[in-house]
């Protein structure tokens, strides 16, 4: 019988749990909003992912957690989200050398080697600029679903330009652009460019080496991914489920620690 490993990532927006087996195959995963009580969220995630896998807690050989609220998850160990992202990406894309993580509260640029070890990283977390937070705001103003921003943005022919990168001021500027008659697709495309600019500015001190993997909630937005490709001048890799990479990394670390 195989051994199972649990990884839990409680981020600022979403909580994710994943169970892998000894051969590093994903057995089950669960994604929920992080909520305000991380301990409750983590307990619920654990229960849900175990149910989905048809396993009991006793079947889990080792567990790890990561993310802003990960320390509330009562796992065997806790690891930084950068290391977890690196491990997770390395499993899915062994050729990836740079990771762009676009999270709800901030973005990260991580250089990794062929073994998924972190070489260098740069994070933006003092400011909402360059994070997926802006996408939420724009979706709200334009009365769109956040999932629809990407395909809409691809229709843009004249992306709006914005004079500020501050998320708060951008909110006002988006309203001004609407008043000036800019089309929703042009506004969204302009916002995507603005985020891509901010992310590429993180490249100071971190080199961008192919291949580049884009992960985090922001990677679900195809328009944003295209803007990043344009900005970096190269195609990027996007996992099928970009939000669960840190949780996957945590599960991989749990597996390594128990062997």
């Amino acid at each position: 019988m195989s051994a199972y490993y649990l990884g839990i990532d409680i981020g600022s927006v979403g909580g994710k749990a994943i169970i892998i087996d000894d051969s590093r195959k994903i057995v089950a995963l669960s994604v929920v909003p992080s909520g305000t009580n991380y301990s409750t969220t983590a307990a619920g995630l654990k229960e849900d992912v175990l149910n989905k896998a048809g396993l009991k807690l006793a079947d889990i050989k080792d567990s790890s957690s990561t993310g802003t609220g990960g320390r509330n998850a009562k796992t065997d160990s806790y690891h930084g989200v950068i290391v977890c992202n690196a491990r997770g990406v390395n499993l899915l894309f062994p050729s990836a050398r740079t990771i762009v993580d676009i999270g709800g509260q901030g973005s990260q640029l991580i250089d990794i080697d062929e073994n998924g070890q972190v070489i260098n990283f740069n994070i933006s977390e003092i400011c909402a600029t360059g994070s997926a937070r802006l996408l939420q705001l724009v979706a709200r103003i334009l009365q769109l679903n956040i999932e629809d921003l990407g395909s809409l943005s691809l229709k843009s022919t004249h992306p709006s330009s914005f004079s500020t990168s501050c998320t708060v001021f951008l909110e006002t500027e988006v309203i001004t652009r609407i008043a000036q008659g800019d089309k929703p697709e042009d506004i969204v495309a302009g916002i995507h460019r603005s985020i891509a600019d901010k992310i590429s500015a993180l490249a100071r001190g971190v080199s961008i080496r192919p291949e580049v993997a884009v992960i985090g909630g922001g990677a679900l937005d195809i328009g944003l991914v295209r803007s990043i490709e344009e900005k970096l001048g190269q195609k990027v890799l996007v996992p099928q489920n970009p939000r669960i990479i840190a949780a996957l990394g945590a599960a991989l670390i749990a597996r390594n620690l128990s062997r």
Binding site: I126, C127, T129, S165, T167
Partner: protein, 295 residues
Amino acid sequence: MPGMDNQTSHLHFAGIDIGSTMSKAAVVDAEGRMLAYVVGQTGAEHRLRANKLMEDTLHKAGLPLSDIAYIISTGYGRVNVPFADKQVTELTCHAKGVAALFPEVKTAIDIGGQDAKVLKIRNGRLVDFLTNDKCAAGTGRFLEVAAETLGLELNEMGRISLQTDTPVKINSLCTIFAQQEIISRLSEGQPLPDILAGVYIAIATRVVKLARQLKVEAPVVFTGGVAKNAGMVKAMETVLGLPLLVPEEPLITGCLGAAILARDEAFKLVQHGEYQAQRDKKLTEARIDFGEKSR
């Protein structure tokens, strides 16, 4: 008074400041004394606002437009004042206005709806400045977001914050993140006055950091819409460690400075014998505009 003679002593001058949030206008006499001012919301229609504001200010001063010899516009919307003779940047106007009210001023700190400025002033002249309009933290916008989050009026917020001497520490440097931090502090059960006082300290810390890049020298004058907030004045004095001079109406230093500069400009034209022609031209344009747009 340089440039003054019988030709100019009966004249009046106006300054109009179209800011991101508030618009202000003032009228001064030939001695540079302020006769009237009016403050109003800027709104979306700058031109309409500018016309209405000028009209209201003239009404308050009891003067017809034909008595205004020269008008200077300033502020973020200064290009949208069709009847102005000249546009001048808000920094110059602001320094002039602050020095008119407080001749000894060495440092002026202005926190507006969407920006913050620090001015070094020597003998009434602007010698150095720094501004922040890139980041909402450290501007009035931060207060608006906090007020919105808490469902409070801005002046109410100031009053409540004065009830405590133990402000909560707000760690986030970004307005967006601070908003979340305020919510978590509330859910932790921290008292509202402590949270509000913490919000003011957070903004003050940002602005003082900007100010310290230039050397802060007393006397320090504090202006802009945010200076109307008692909680903010207290927080600024605490963080700066200096007492602040706050004008009775902290919003009008820009338009007052513009009006005084209008007076200086008109006197210069008089000295060069170019004044009369300029005046006729401008007044005709202004009248047409008034007639069409605000009546």
